[in-house]
């Protein structure tokens, strides 16, 4: 009797197993999807962050796109290395666009942009932007609730607790553009990534008239146009009461930084200036190395020091 039970059990279970195997085999054969194996290979190489910075819906979608045609495709996150490997597999050439880095164009820290009302609601920049002008008198500046922080897949954006502004960690930034899309105020811009992350930019997008802007924020661009007059390369335009530096034309001479009466134009990651100029931007929250100016350190070293000094670097 007992033997019988065991035998039946084995037979039934074994039968089920054989049947299932047969079904699986047939299904696998019959419904096999023919897919270019290169898609998998390319997909393997990609970073897999699915950030969407390439304009495709995720990495696999990008890989499919690459297999179709490599033209105009570039993964900012993987960079030239990854793209060259992909080009090897697919046999084509990739053209790397100018490397870029995200820049937050608002300097309205809590110190220079006083709060005029008190927001209570969902902690989201998009919600604030849809509701009203914002907690300060400036309707254009950084809201500081961190939609960009959530959007960044690489942990490259954070809210500085002191200034209340978004800041980019340049070494983590892959220029995928997620934060640019997430910012309801359009403050974040992808700008040319120059050597050692040096950059000169107008850290304000306030389109209000000078007096109004200045009243709301002491470091606002008032659209006075002094920078545009100073610029020798025609890189600066003033439109709607706000200056803009075209990074394709800018030669980073930094004369506009000196010319700006409100300190809205920022220079970052440059070696320290000579003594008399170095003191000026300090009050505007600009990192300076006033105490180190006598020594002329080697460029490598400066970068290190600047990194630790620069609020945007960590």
């Amino acid at each position: 009797m007992e033997d019988n039970v065991i035998a039946i059990s084995i037979a039934v279970l074994g039968g089920v197993a054989v049947l299932a195997a047969a079904i699986l085999y047939v299904v696998a054969k019959k419904f096999k999807v023919d897919e270019d194996p290169r898609i998998d290979e390319v997909n393997e190489l990609l970073p897999g962050a699915n950030c969407g910075g390439c304009g495709f819906a995720g990495c696999r979608n990008f890989a499919e796109g690459c297999v179709k045609s490599l033209e105009g495709k570039f993964c900012n996150v993987g960079g030239a290395d990854v793209m060259n490997k992909i080009a090897e597999i697919l046999g084509g050439t990739v053209t790397a666009p100018d490397p870029k880095v995200a820049v937050v164009r608002c300097a309205g820290s809590t110190a220079c942009r006083p709060k005029v009302n008190n927001f209570e609601g969902a902690k989201s920049c998009a919600v604030v932007a849809a509701t009203y002008a914002g907690e300060t008198g400036c309707a254009f500046g950084c809201i500081g609730l961190g939609d960009c922080v959530t959007a960044c897949e690489f942990g490259g954006v954070s809210i500085n607790p002191e200034t209340g502004l978004a800041q980019i960690n340049e070494s983590l930034c892959t220029a995928c553009g997620s934060c640019v899309k997430a910012c309801p105020k359009g403050i974040i811009e992808l700008r040319k990534k120059a050597a050692k992350f040096r950059k000169v930019y107008v850290s304000c997008v306030n389109k209000d008239k000078g007096a109004v802007a200045k009243k709301a924020c002491s470091s606002a661009c008032i659209g006075c146009g002094k920078c545009a007059k100073t610029c020798e390369f025609g890189a600066i335009t003033v439109e709607n009461n706000v200056a803009y530096i075209d990074y394709t034309k800018c030669k980073m001479c930094r004369k506009c930084v000196e010319a700006c009466p409100t300190g809205a134009i920022k220079e970052e990651n440059f070696p320290p200036r000579k003594l008399k100029e170095a003191a000026a931007p300090k009050e505007l929250g600009q990192p300076t190395n006033a105490d180190k100016v006598e020594v002329k350190p080697e460029p490598e070293k400066i970068v290190l020091e600047k990194k630790s000094d620069n609020p945007n670097a960590n």
Binding site: V116, A122, S124, V127, A130, T131, Y132, A133
Partner: protein
């Protein structure tokens, strides 16, 4: 008798109509008015005056810029001192006209007499709509949809009935209530005019049961006007929503994505009907409206007849001044009104009230975890699932938002009102709704 109302969802916000017994007071004309160019849904009007121009009361200063847009008239006589940004409750200055007041000189064709003119037959339906268009009348309940657009019934559709919204379901607000009581005759003639414009023989005036005096007075009057019937309604928010008013009175549901006219209804606010009367019979454009200034801490809650463009600050002063412990100033009612960043913003065509909340009522509670109690689902008058939609919106899952009909949301706030965990459901849903609407629109192109 059981009063009719809509079926799904709804809440009963408590909140006293403090100013219900206050007769409408005429506000003195201010020194300066700020008239925004966008006082309606749709395209802002094109400003046609320049700095230095002399204007009269009722003179056109901004012209409708498209089908869904509305004319704007000067509410005072004086000199245009600026064409540019005017204050706005949101803190974002909007385009508009600033006029310095000099005297009170009206346009000649406006009939300023108080005599009641009931001769509706003088005008054809076309003429009525033309006059409404010219007068720049918009929905005065707060939605500010241009009235002439609503009254122009498309050829292939037919209006079965005109519904007049005298519900005023928002707590605190009493502007419509007072208008119905004090301008009852004008209201009736206005209703007759709109009936003629939309070519229907039937009109229902829906009034919630907390306004027994208005119900009584209008029922009495309606005997003189054929086809007009007053319908008392049970108290329930958001009964003033077009779709829910139609459901309550006609027991018809406007299908998702459709307009009231698709079920044969045209809905208009009671205040709008009075404005129509004035526009058609007296050639008077929409240059003033009744505004309730109220709040538990306000000294004298009142109803004011104010010229469009009067800074709200003056109205608050006339009601006893801004209380010391003010924590929030709301343009509109407590359920759908917008919190204002300042009190300098002007009265616009859609400003039905100004609600002042003391500090202790001004704050939201800290959100707690959702306990999935389903109160938001029970409260939603559109039968949506706010708990789900708000999460989808927050996580930017727009496809899921659409699958759960986020575009049906009427932003009435019942979900937030009923949520015991004080979650900001609507904050996110509003975001999701506008994004999904954008996606749907771009798909159609």
């Amino acid at each position: 008798m059981k009063l009719s109302t809509f079926k799904i969802g709804g809440v009963h916000p408590s909140g006293s109509k403090l100013s219900a017994d206050q007769p409408i007071k005429v506000m003195p004309i201010p020194d300066t008015v700020y008239i925004p160019a966008a006082q309606h849904i749709g395209k802002p009007a094109d400003i046609i005056v320049q700095k230095g121009d002399k204007v009269k009361v009722g003179q056109l200063i901004a012209k409708s810029s498209g089908f869904v847009s509305a004319n704007i008239h000067s509410s005072v006589s004086g000199t245009v001192t600026a064409v540019g940004p005017v204050p706005d409750p949101s803190g974002i200055a909007k385009m508009g006209v600033t006029i310095k007041v000099e005297g009170d000189e009206w346009m000649e064709d406006i009939d300023r007499s108080e005599t009641l003119d009931t001769n509706v037959d003088r005008f054809s339906d076309k003429e009525i709509i033309d006059r409404v268009t010219a007068a720049g009348i918009v929905g005065m309940g707060g939605a500010t949809f241009p009235a002439h657009v609503k009254f122009t019934v498309p050829l292939e559709k037919k209006a079965e009935a005109l519904l007049i919204n005298g519900v005023e379901c928002e707590p605190y607000l009493t502007a419509d209530h007072r208008v119905m009581l004090e301008k009852s005759e004008q209201l009736m003639v206005g209703v007759k005019l709109i009936m003629k414009a939309v070519k229907t023989e039937k009109a229902f005036i829906g009034i919630e049961a907390n306004k027994p005096d208005a119900i009584e007075k209008l029922t009495e009057l309606s005997r003189k006007y054929a086809g007009i019937k007053v319908v008392p309604l049970a108290l329930k928010y958001p009964q003033g929503s077009e779709k829910h008013l139609i459901k309550a009175i006609m027991n018809k549901e406007v299908p998702s994505g459709k307009l009231p006219i698709d079920v044969g209804a045209v809905v208009s606010n009671a205040g709008t009907a009075v404005a129509v009367y004035e526009a058609v019979m007296k050639s008077k454009p929409l240059i003033e409206r009744v505004v309730t200034v109220t709040g538990n801490s306000v000294k004298n809650p009142s109803n004011f007849l104010a010229r469009i463009g009067t800074p709200v600050r003056l109205l608050i002063e006339a009601a006893g001044g801004l209380p010391e412990d003010t924590g929030k100033v709301i343009s509109g009612g407590p359920m759908m009104g917008k919190a204002a960043t300042n009190t300098d913003f002007p009265v616009a065509k859609g400003t039905s009230g100004v609600l002042i909340m003391p500090e202790e009522l001004a704050h939201r509670r800290e959100p707690e975890p959702c306990i999935r109690c389903g109160k938001c689902v029970d409260a939603c008058p559109m039968g949506l699932e706010p708990y789900l939609l708000s999460v989808y919106s927050r996580k930017k899952m727009w496809n899921e938002c659409e699958e759960h009909y986020i575009y049906d949301c009427i932003e009435c706030g019942c979900c937030v009102y009923s949520c015991p965990a004080a979650r900001p459901l609507l904050d996110y849903m509003r975001l999701g709704k506008s994004t999904v609407m954008g996606i749907i629109r771009s798909r159609k192109k």
